[in-house]
Every structure is written in C-alpha cells, then in structure tokens.
Amino acid sequence: MLAFLWQRLDQGARLALPCATVLAFTLLGAITWPLPYFGEVAPPLALMAVYYWAIHRPDLFRPGMAFLVGLLNDALHFLPLGLSALLFVAAHQFVFSQRRFFAGHSFYMMWWGFALTVLIVMFAEWTLLDLLRRQMIPLMPVFLQALLAIVIFPLPCWVLIRLQRTALSAG
C-alpha cells in the first residue's frame, strides 16, 4: 500500500515537472542577478519554458497554466495584470499549432522557432503597453532583450531537455 502511494506520488511529481519548471523560471527571471544593469535586459525565462513545454509536453502544460504563470509574471514585473497572461496563452497556442514544424529534426529549427516567437511576443507586449499607457516606450531595450533571449536560449533549453529526459522519460 505504502509502495503504491510512493509510486503515485513519484509519478505525480514527474507529471508536474513542466508546470514546476515554468514557475521556477518565472521566479528566476525576476530575482536580482549579480551583474550590473542585467535586470534591464534580463531574458524572459518564463517564455522560454512556456515555448519548450508547448512543443514537447502540451498535454502536461496546458493554456490554463500558461495563464496563471502569466499573471504571476505580471505581478512580479509590475505590468498590467493580464498582459503576460494574454501573451503567454497566445504564444502557447501559436507554438502548439506549429509544434511539429518547430520540433523538427534539428535543434536549430527549435531555436529558429523560439526566435520568431520571442520577437512576436515582445513586439506585441511593447505595442499593447504603449496603447494601455498611452506613451511611447523606447523600442531598443525591448529589441536588445529579445536578442539576448535568442542568444542564450540553448542554455535554459539544455536544462529543460535534461530534466525532461531524467524525469519524464523514466516515468
């Protein structure tokens, strides 16, 4: 009985991995890094995790979770509540619909897909914020953030691949 319970708990923990990693990436994306001015261009780690799981395990990371993580992201980054939620769900839906193409046969295809996704999402975020606040936010830092996100994408992606292989393949 106890063994069965442990087995169920273990299985539950493994299945919760996508949600847990997106949550962890969201929190990691908000903390202060010991690099001067890094916060101004800190890459959107949460979006990377949303992108990864929308391709690889959309059955374990559904739009509802993208919505909740988006709300947390809004609260932490002092953005209008609902903005990241809207963009994360839209990004999830876009990636889900194109996942066979983005997953492809090489990592470069997935990287290219992320570049496209992050550019669209960040431009949409910039446009919506301009409209909501009725002011022009400088576009260059937004572009730099997107660029940095594209450059460092393989690193968080490698972590997610390792986690998926360790926890989900074994389950």
């Binding site: 903390i31 932490l76 903005l83």
Partner: protein, 298 residues
C-alpha cells in the same frame, strides 16, 4: 528529444480533432479572461494593485530563498576583493578620516551657530526624517518598467510614496506596499517625475526618467544656465520628497535639454533606505522618536 503523442486507428480520428478543439477553446477562454483583467485594471486599478501586492507577498519567501545563494556569492566576492585591497583602502580611509575630522569641527561650530540663530528667530523646525532599511530581492526592471522589489512592507511601517535612497542619493519612491514586501519605482522609469532644485543657482525644474540610465531636466527657467557637474537635489515641492536629498549631477545639454546622471549607481542596488517624510507625523513617530533620542547628545 521530441515526445509527440501518437495514436492510430479510429480513436485517433475522433480524439485528435477533439483534443485540438478543446485546446483551442480553453486557450480562447483564458485569452478572454486575460483581456477582462486588463480592462478591469483600467476601470478598478485599486483592486488590481491590492491583488498584485498580495501575489508578490506570497512569492516573497520563495524569491528570497532563490536569491539567497546569489547574494551570498556576491557578498563573498566583495569580501575577497576588499581583503585584496586592504592596505590601499586603509591609506585612503586615513586620509578621508583626517578630512572628515576637519569637516566635523566646522559642522559643530555651524550647528551651534544655526541653533542660536533659530532660537533668536523663533524658527519652527521641520520634523526629522526616519529611515527603514530593506534588502533588494528582485530587479523587476526589464525594458518596460524600472523597478525593484524590497523586503519591507506595511508591517515594517512602509507606506506608498516614501522616498527610496542608497548611501549616494535618491533612487526612487515606493509605489506599492504589501504586508512584507514593497515595490520601488526607480527615478529612471518613464513615469517618474521629481521636483528638483539645482544646488547653487536655486533654479527649480522637474526631473523626468525615460527608461534610460540618464535623466532629463524639464521646466527650467528660460534664462537658466547650468554648469555640468552642478548638484541636483529634491526641492520638496508637493510634499512627496523631503527637500535636499541628492539626486544626481547635471551633464551637458542635448537639444536644449539638460541631462542628469543619477548620484546612485542604479545598476547595483542591493540595499535601500526608505525615508519617511511625514509632515503630520503618523506611523513613523515611534521610530522618529527613537532616532531623535539616539541623536541627542549625552
């Protein structure tokens, strides 16, 4: 690497479109909910602000735990660096100390003279300032907002509108206070506007942020001629900030607009000091009394 669900036969013909339809429908519902929240935020901003403050309060212990190793590593690196330059720093501090003793003597004489003159004029002094120190836990800047999350909230006496400083100067003000966390909007944020005075000339202006690391001076008098390097301090107008807090120094004018470099290094803020400037007293009186008692000569 890719694990895509595969199924065959009649079940896949029925199940796949249904699952896709279900996914699309739920995505649509959540997108509508997010839009609803955005609209609600425009109609009832106070409701959204309270919710946001509670969410941040809830996330604070986890953020604190995640940030701890990084803070510890940074402190250790700073300590090693400090040990390496110990001799050099010791010499510099001795020179600084000698200069400060001279300043202290001059200050004591001026303080006595000031007190006597104030007594003669029957001058009403402004209430003293009280401070709350807090650690920066999250840099929630990004390209859209310049802000920090700090580990002090309403339970510590923090109120919205309080000035936030480092040892070098003003860095922003509290715009959101939860129970045990608060958010500081930096002076470089696009929405930051601070009434300031140029030390020396006494010219008044409004200091505005534009999400870059340089601030801009607006509404200066037409005939104002500022020298690069002139100190910019808060004017205290509007009662938002106490007067005389150092903000930065004037740089060269571009297209008729003077720039200001912040006195504090906004890229490396680990601790902040919140300044209470309560003209009517209030929540900070006990603290203020404590500070006044501590400053009182024996």
């Amino acid at each position: 690497m890719t694990v895509l669900p595969r199924s065959t036969g009649w079940s896949s013909i029925v199940a796949l479109p249904w699952r896709s339809l279900n996914q699309r429908f739920s995505a649509f519902v959540f997108m509508m909910a997010a839009l609803g929240l955005l609209i609600l935020g425009r109609i009832q901003p106070s409701l959204i602000e309270d919710t946001r403050a509670h969410v941040v309060d809830g996330a604070m212990p986890i953020l604190d735990a995640i940030a701890w190793p990084m803070t510890a590593a940074e402190n250790a690196a700073a300590r090693v660096k400090s040990y390496m330059s110990l001799q050099e720093e010791n010499q510099r501090l001795r020179a600084d100390n000698a200069q400060l003793v001279q300043w202290q003597n001059a200050l004591t004489a001026l303080q006595d003279e000031n007190r006597e003159l104030r007594t003669l004029l029957n001058f009403q002094t402004e209430p003293g300032l009280a401070y709350i120190s807090a650690r920066v836990i999250a840099d929630t800047g990004g390209p859209f907002v310049r802000g920090l999350l700090i580990t002090a909230g309403k339970l510590d006496g923090v109120r919205e509108g309080m000035a936030a400083m480092t040892g070098d100067g003003l860095i922003g003000r509290v715009v959101e206070a939860g129970d045990w966390s608060s958010r500081v909007l930096l002076i470089t944020d696009l929405n930051s506007r601070i009434p300031v005075t140029i030390a020396g000339s006494g010219d008044r202006a409004i200091l505005a942020g534009d999400n870059s690391n340089e601030l801009k001076l607006f509404y200066l008098p037409q005939d104002a001629m500022l020298n690069p390097g002139a100190r910019v301090v808060t004017s205290g107008h509007g009662g938002v900030f106490p007067p005389g807090l150092p903000v930065g120094v004037v740089t060269v004018a571009e297209r008729g607009v003077y720039g200001v470099t912040p006195a504090a290094d906004l890229g490396r803020v680990n601790y902040v000091r919140l300044v209470d400037f309560s003209l009517k007293g209030g929540a900070f009186n006990p603290l203020q009394t404590g500070i006044e008692a501590a400053n009182k000569p024996n």
